[in-house]
């Protein structure tokens, strides 16, 4: 069974189709690249997998579980992490505090 599976995902912004029936699957241990020109919809697809956008059509499965109806923080809890094109560090915190804030997800207090 594949680790991450994207099934026929479409995303429309008004009349603009940013994603049109995208399907692929990523297996465990695999490094998967996604390439395309500017405006091809790579970031939109990232945002759909990450949960920032809800797909207009289709679904995303992680470990066989449907995640396209979950919120970003719930998806993160399941084990999907992401970075941003423009890096978003927590500016006024130290590097250590940045790591601590992220590590609280798996720690009790």
């Amino acid at each position: 069974m594949s680790l991450l599976e994207v099934r026929g995902v479409s995303k429309f912004f008004g009349g603009l189709a940013a994603l049109n029936s995208v399907s692929f699957s990523v297996n465990k241990g695999e490094i998967f690249g996604l390439i395309g020109p500017n405006g091809a919809g790579k970031t939109t697809l990232f945002n759909v997998v990450n949960g920032f956008y809800k797909p207009s059509k289709g679904e995303v499965l992680f470990n066989g579980k449907r995640i396209s109806n979950l919120k970003p923080h719930q998806i993160c809890r399941l084990g999907i992490a992401r970075t941003f094109q423009v890096v978003k560090p927590l500016q006024r915190m130290t590097v250590l505090d940045n790591v601590i804030a992220s590590a609280f997800l798996r720690a009790k207090s």
Binding site: N50, F52, K71, P72, H73, C76, R77, A81, R82, F84, K88, P89, L90, Q91, R92, M93, D97, I100, A101, S102, F104, L105, S109
Partner: protein, 205 residues
């Protein structure tokens, strides 16, 4: 010896003194108090609220909750993708600030003797002073609001006591706000090294 008064007020706290001022317009007033009036428990309670707020905020910021609040302030999208339920924690932040402001508001009502929406929401009154306190002192610092409150309350009383100025004293706050935003965007506590630098350059040349 027997004294006769129209009104007798027991306790010289904020509410008692306030009531005495109003009642004295209509007749003679006596205020009974166990303590010297300026040593009333209202003053102690105000100090207590300030100290309590300071330590509560310090405790919250040093906890997991504090890390989450700061993370959400700095980058909400990043915080969300770090697994922080931003809606939930923002609601908690709103409740906490509501509780603290509520305490202050309860005492402010006592002090003023009345309250109406205009007092709090009018742009020239308490709402702008609250924002100015934080802007002048320093955002996101423990000591910022304390420094800001000392400076602002002192300045506000000083400016207000200048004769023939009338409501024009509010202009001063507008000018001060602009100056602070341009030269000290992090407030006095936040930009303290910058202030020290200016004075050192001024001193040597």
């Amino acid at each position: 010896m027997i004294h006769y008064f129209d009104t007798v007020i027991i306790g010289s706290g904020l509410a008692g003194l306030r009531a005495a001022i109003e009642a004295s317009k209509h007749g003679s007033v006596a205020v009974l108090t166990k303590l010297y009036p300026t040593r009333s428990h209202s003053t102690a309670a105000q100090g207590g609220i300030a100290a309590g707020t300071f330590f509560l905020v310090k405790k919250v910021i040093e906890s997991k909750l504090g890390y989450y609040f700061v993370a959400i302030r700095e980058a909400q999208d990043a915080a969300e993708s770090l697994g922080i339920n931003t809606t939930f924690y923002k609601t908690i932040a709103l409740c906490l600030s509501g509780i603290l402001t509520g305490f202050a508001g309860a005492f402010y009502t006592n002090y003023m003797g009345y309250i109406d929406p205009k007092v709090v929401f009018a742009l020239h009154d308490i709402s702008i002073v609250t924002i100015m306190v934080v802007m002048v002192g320093g955002v996101a610092m423990y000591w910022g609001p304390i420094i800001g409150a000392i400076i602002m309350v002192f300045l506000a009383e000083l400016i207000r006591s200048i004769p023939y100025l009338g409501t024009a004293h509010q202009t001063f706050f507008g000018i001060l706000l602009i100056v602070i935003i341009i030269f000290l965007p992090n407030g006095i506590a936040g930009d303290f090294p910058k202030i020290k630098n200016i004075f050192r350059i001024g001193g040597t040349s």
